[in-house]
Amino acid sequence: MTRQKRSHHKLKRAVAPYLYLSPSLLIIGLLMLLPMVTVIAYSFQNSAVLRRDPSFAGLKHYQAIFDDPVFWASLWHTLYFTCMSVIFHMTIGMVFALMLNSDRINPTLRSVLRVLYILPWLFTAVIIAVIWRLLLEPNGVVNSMLMQIGIIGSKVEWFSSPQTALHAVTFANIWAGYPLFMVSLLAGLQGIPKDFYEAADIDGAKAYQKLIFITIPQLMPIIISISLLDFIWTMQVFPLIWITTGGGPIYSTEVLSTYTYKLAFSSYNLSQASASAVVILLISLGLTLFYIRYQKAR
């Protein structure tokens, strides 16, 4: 092989990986990076999108949203909605996974429960919103059941009352999201060697001690990974809240996603909406970095 041929071959080998990657890089660039960069640019412009030659606005739009009490209420609602959802997704997912993994439950019943428990996962956000709007209507099933057993005295307007609306949408989201934890934790439980529990039995461990000292530490990598992912996803939930309450009443269920949407498509203040979107992006980015660092540390 001549020297020229050899160097040509070398170049081909060096370029080949980038050629293989180029289609996916092009798609990511066009569909993800370009919109992201554009939104960041909009957040520093006056009358972005609406004018052909928007002027530079500096941090004006950021200042505006930070001065808006609705933004801070949305941020608080987002945190409440997200934290409660993640905590209850994890707790309910863990309890159901432990039940499904237990050999004390009849295998037939276990199969039935497995199907029942995973049902919420089969519905789209729109269907979940419609189901819970019907169930939590003032004349719905939930009110009549709670009144019958005497927990409430009169009909509660779950989605229409500022006192209950945020709890109601959070509840609907918890119901919709726990199966992810349940399935992941069940897979984790089935991977814990039986020997660990037998050794603990011989050492005299009680059921709760086995849970604390063996099960939870063994599941910890799954718990942390899924919790972080759930946190990132739940922070961005839009359709469920939009269809059930639309962010109301009186901003009581306004979260960052609905707040941003309204700025963009109700007030047509696309610059301020972009600034709000950048704030959401930064929070998500922070969590994602935390997740990536955790994954690397493992």
Partner: protein, 381 residues
């Protein structure tokens, strides 16, 4: 410390499968008993029943004179070393060893003192803060031992604790466990499928097959006087050669050769005379077969054989042979590994033997070392 007594222990599963059938075994205080047998013989099930990890279908089990059949594992005063070691990966060596004390609510200072003592005995002091993932196989094995020792139990139960180690380390750990057991003097029941472990470690060895106890004896007696063809074939490596032959007067006739038996053979086994004119199973260990061209083999009678292959181990040659006789299956599923598919006998020759693969030789045999079994029942004659 305590004696462990099993009386008529049975284990039957839902599909009427008898995993253990009428097991009677008495392990004396401080004794090291080995439960050995091929895969699926019920040895691990028996051990797990003693530990309380499997229910006992019927029979009685006493540890230190106390009937423990209905007791949960924690109240049986036993400690177990698992095949996988069952070390908790999220705990350090120290936490693993002290786990049972922590569960029992023992103060931290007491836990530390005890862990330090055990770590010193097992040479684990420098590893106390390490996690099991950072330990070698042998170190993990020692941590598992430490976790068992910390409880100061009446009996140790060990379920194939060396099977995950490589061959060299296994030899070292065999010696370590044996000397530790002698030092502690704790009654120990040790399950293995490896008959070398069985022969080298235990005070006595119990051989199981199909859930039925075949023989309990010292390793030496088990080797010299097996009660049936299965024990004869299972104990010893390579396995004993077992063949079918016909007793004709004082000779064993098989195919093209005959082996003369001395009077002493009939004196030692009076029952052998009744097999005159009938078929009998005879067995001879590989080390009782000699290369007739060497000094060691010249004093014995010879039979014709063809060498099929030779394994030169340095200190000896394992020679695979074909002789004109029908090999008898001892019932040991591992025996095929010793004999292979093309030979029916195996011999241990001295390293200066010059036999070649494919050559026809005269095989010398020490007829005083022959074993005899009934062809129907496979019981020793």
């Amino acid at each position: 410390m305590a004696e462990v007594v099993l009386e008529n222990i049975c284990k039957t599963y839902g599909n009427n499968f008898h995993a253990i059938d009428q097991l009677n075994l008495s392990v004396e205080d401080g004794e090291f008993l080995i439960l050995v047998g091929p895969s699926g013989c019920g040895k691990s099930t028996a051990l797990r029943m003693i530990a309380g990890l499997e229910d006992i279908t019927s029979g009685s089990l006493r540890i230190g004179g106390v009937d423990v059949v209905d007791m949960p594992p924690k109240d049986r005063d036993i400690a177990m070393v698992f095949q996988s070691y069952a070390l908790y990966p999220h705990m350090t060596v120290s936490e693993n060893i002290a786990f049972s004390m922590r569960l029992a609510g023992k103060p931290k200072a007491e836990r530390k003192k005890r862990v330090d003592e055990i770590a010193k005995t097992l040479q684990l002091t420098s590893l106390l803060d390490s996690k099991p993932a950072n330990l070698s196989g042998g170190q993990r094995q020692r941590v598992a031992m430490g976790r068992a020792m910390v409880r100061e139990p009446a009996a140790f139960l060990m379920d194939e604790p060396l099977s995950n180690l490589d061959a060299k380390l296994r030899v070292q750990m065999r010696a370590e466990i044996t000397s530790l057991q002698k030092q502690l003097g704790v009654t120990t029941i040790y399950v293995t499928h490896d008959q070398i472990e069985a022969m080298t470690m235990g005070d006595r060895v119990a051989v199981l097959k199909g859930g039925v106890l075949q023989q309990v004896d010292t390793p030496k007696r088990l080797y010299e006087s097996p009660v049936n063809a299965f024990v004869a074939g299972f104990i010893g490596s390579p396995s004993m050669n077992l063949f079918e032959a016909t007793m004709t007067g004082a000779e064993l006739m098989s195919g093209a050769f005959a082996i003369r038996l001395q009077d002493a053979a009939f004196v030692r086994r009076p029952g052998l005379k009744s097999y005159a004119g009938r078929k009998v199973v005879f067995g001879i260990r590989p080390e009782d077969l000699y290369d007739s061209s060497l000094e060691s083999g010249r004093k014995y009678q010879t039979i014709p054989a063809k060498v099929t292959s030779i394994e030169e181990l340095g200190s000896e040659h394992i020679v695979h042979l074909n002789i004109d006789a029908v090999r008898v299956d001892s019932g040991d599923p591992d025996a095929v590994q010793d004999f292979g598919l093309t030979s029916n006998a195996v011999a241990r020759f001295e390293p200066d033997s010059a036999v070649r693969s494919g050559s026809a030789i005269r095989l010398a045999l020490d007829d005083t070392k022959l074993h005899f079994f009934d062809p129907e029942t496979h019981l020793a004659i």
